[in-house]
Amino acid sequence: MIEHAYLIPLIPLAASALMHFGAKEDPHSPAPWIGVVAMAICLGMSLSILSAVASGSVAVPYEHNWPWFSFAASIGGKSFIYDMPVGVLIDGPAAVLLVVVTLVSLMVQIYSIAYMHDDTRYMRYFGFVSFFTASMLGLVVSSNLLVGFMSWELMGLASYLLIGFWFEKDGPTEAQKKAFMTTKLGDSGLYVALLFLFAKVGSFQLTQIHHFYDKGYMPAAAAAAIAIGLLFGAMGKSAQFPLFIWLPDAMEGPTPGSALIHAATMVAAGIFLVSRTYFCFLAAPQVMHAAAWIGCATAFLAAAMALVSYDIKRVLAFSTVSQLGFMMCALGVGGYTAGLFHLTTHAFFKALLFLGAGSVIHSVHTNDLRLMGGLSKKMIVSFFTILAAIAAISGIPFTSGYYSKDMILANIWHSGDRPLFFIMLFTALMTAFYMSRLFILAFWGEARDHEKHHHAHESPFLMTGPLVLLAFLALTSGFMLDRHGLVYKLLPKPTISVMPGEVAREHAPPATLVSATMPAEGGEHAAAPSEAKAEEHAPAHEAAAEHGEHHEGHLPHALHLALPFLVLGSIGFAFFLYKGPDYAAAESLKATFAPVFTVLDRRWYLDDAFDLLVVFCDKVAALAFWIDANVVDRVFVDGWGLLMRIVSEISNLIDALFVDRTVDGFGGLSLDLGVGLRGLVKDGQVQEYLMYVAIAFSLAATLILTR
């Protein structure tokens, strides 16, 4: 099956085209099932690939390329023609991501059939969703960063289309523009990084680039520049501080679409890109450190904003940003496995949360948590499935989030950066708090708005079915992957044997980044100096790496045991604050710390800052426009015309005053001369002419002869 992996992005693409252009717009059309069936086929293929990879029956990484086009390149003064292939590269993370993306997309599509049934642009929506998924799958399977970048951009386009789906309203229109331009800004970093990579390596093939890094051919400065560019791209797509401003607004799109963006496609792409090019980051430790802190800032700031929001989708959006911060932080401290593990588990429970929220919104027709309450009695399936998701995201023991978040925290702990660890720990507790708060406000206690409560009802089976399946995964996927160290086997951390700039020498002890980040294990990780030796030692090396990461994946015992209690305490605190029908405790707290709440409610004033920036750019560009319209047009173009007129007036004047006079003068002179001459020549008699000719001739002759 793995040899047909190239079909996985192509099938949904074809389905998308078919639904978009082939089918008529009709709310009862069976055409969405085309997308569902296409995605189900892809899911089947992905599952078979994953099981083959997990069982070890195929050698990973599996790579297959087809010729695409050739490109002239000159590297280091030598010019040669480089053949650019297009192909698939399936390794453990790609296999896992394939399953996650296809599964979530399938669930979203099935759910949407019920959710979107009365929309006027039913087919268009399904076309967009399939297109979106296809671009994400293209990024996942591609062996070529250039093709990856194409998929990346197409995904940006798809998100633009999906967020602005209800374009009759102003909100979605603004949100789609914001999302597109913000991510596009990040993309520019990725673009520059790709140009640098190509200039240095002469290839966009991931395996070749890895090989190049592995040999230590990449100069340190270039490695840092490339890593910064890649990180910038990932920050845009994966909504990291300070480019996260687009994600909370992106929920203006249809809710199942948000589930897709928040769980499986858009935001996962950035994290996946970082993991796919992880060796570039390993070669630039400072950038990795920066990534860790950016992730930390993102996680904390977003979690704090989630504490005060009353919009159910907004809380979920902030929580996505916060969880993405966790992943980025994990990748930044070298917790490759942990970051991707969390990406996987997060995809399940976040898709579930959004679909669940969609179910609630569908039923009560509001996003406002204050108008909900007591829904547990009306919507029993939604209640239990969301409960499962909230347990998972909060990190209740033995749910999926527990395993992955625990591993992330352990990685941070072992990186030795204590401030980072404690901020992230605190953020994890905040997560538990705001998710419980959401849960209590929506489902617990008594109904606050009886009108809405009265009309609330459980959603149809097409909506609850996906919820149940996702809830199952949200609870168990962590345990399944963590068992027997499967996650380490599927998501092995890549390594580079030589640091940038230091070309491997026979006797020099190579300084590996692995040794730099893991002092305790450093000796075992020192890579063999020559390639042949490296291959020889490969099994031992892998074993050591595995052992090392297992070690990194565990918190110290006391912390490990204390963590669940801290989480439960945080949940308890949420109950204490929000338990009553009018959550008086929370309100009094809010009154006490009003300024803090205002800052959080205004989203740390980041949106205002960006607005100011946009206004500033607007002003600058308006100034340029004004200069163009007034100065340039007036001065250069009109002015040029005016100048010409003045010059011509002056020249006219000169003409009239001097030239004409001169001409007149000459004319007069010649006239006078003529008159005088005519006076001399009396009556035009021939003998006189001859006389003058004779005089002239004699004069000339005299002159010539007397010389």
């Binding site: 374009f167 520059v192 426009f625 010409m644």
Partner: protein
Amino acid sequence: MNNLRLLLPETVLATLALVIAFADLVVPAKRARVLYHLAWLSAAGVLAWIAFTMGDASTHGVGTLWSVDPFSQFFKLTTLLTCVLCLLLGLDYAELPENQAGTFSALMLLSTAGLMYLVSATDLLLIFVALELVSISSFILAGFERGNPKSNEGSMKYFLFGAFSSAVMVFGISLYFGATGTTHLAASAAAPGPMLILGLVLILLGFGFKASLAPMHFWVPDAYEGAPTPVTTFLSVAPKLATFAALARVFGAIFPLQAYDLTLLFSIMAALTMTIGNFTAMFQTDVKRLLAYSSIAQAGYLLIGLAVGTPLGREGVMLYSFVYVAMNVGAFAVVQAVGSAKGSYDLSAFDGLCKRRLGLSLSLMFCLLSLAGIPPLAGFMGKLYIFSAAVQTGQWWLAVVGVLNSVVSVYYYFAIAHRMFFKEPSDDAAIPVGAYIYGGVAVAVVGVLLFGVNPEPLIAGVRASTQILP
């Protein structure tokens, strides 16, 4: 006059142009459209002639004032292709006076012939004469809609600026002549000195006028806005690309930038051109003006390829030029269709276009996305080529400026796309689309998609045509 036969194709084209001009007197006004067909068929014939003899080494050689080489043939192809497409667009442009079809098409052909001379010229005399031939035909073409005051205004401004830049260029040529004692472009004759360099810079400014490089771009928006749309299309593509070819010949092959310390000047001009074009385009409400500024920005990207000064950069310029023909002509063709139907080129004319004309909207979107450099369309490949050439020579800051500029450009290109797909149409007026416009758009969109997904044949073609004879 050595090897005059090498210039036979352009001479034939110029002769045909004159024939068509005179035929105008004979052909009755009712049948005047036949002259358009005659014109585009002539251009297409010459196009086929050059295309089929391109690989033939006997058609290449060095003449007295010219040299015909694969490089010049490549740009003659882009010029002729643009000319054919624009004449086809002209057939569907109702605002052109019917009874002057002969004049119009003759001027288009003459201008094309001038550009073909220009790309082969190796002597400043021929360059100047060719440029004047192009300019004077374009001045008239730009003011062809005599009833339209904007057309007159644009044409007048174009003319004034053209006159100025011609003067500057002649001054440069005179300095060059003073420094070297010849008007022939040959590095051996010239030792780098202040006078020569001043001369070269003035000549560069003269070129900059035609290629719409900052600071010689001021005429562009007005001339483009006022000119009949097929003429705008032609002006935004053919003279620009041919001038780039001449620039590549003069400043790439004969006077390498590095040897004359002009790299920095070129880089700054490129950065300025891109930035001015993109940032001013953001505020345009008239689509033709918007595309005019966008074409200024595109010239900036092309100039990066020349500023880099490596063979890779030159290949990038060639690749991007070819792609640029497709995407710009495609975009203008759709704009012409919508603008003529609505009687206004305001952005709001595009509201809800996808409801009426899905094919046209998609085509325009593809062309705009390609202009913005979004993969997997052809424009992305061209930009990638040029930017990676810049990074490889260490001028990465130019690539960074270019990438950031393409982000800015996305904003205004998407403003059009947004109106087409996300707004309700403002009225129910029908949007008739002529068969020739459909043809032009189809050619352009196929090019944009095909060369984006499969750039192999184009790259092979470009690599086969890089040779420049001295």
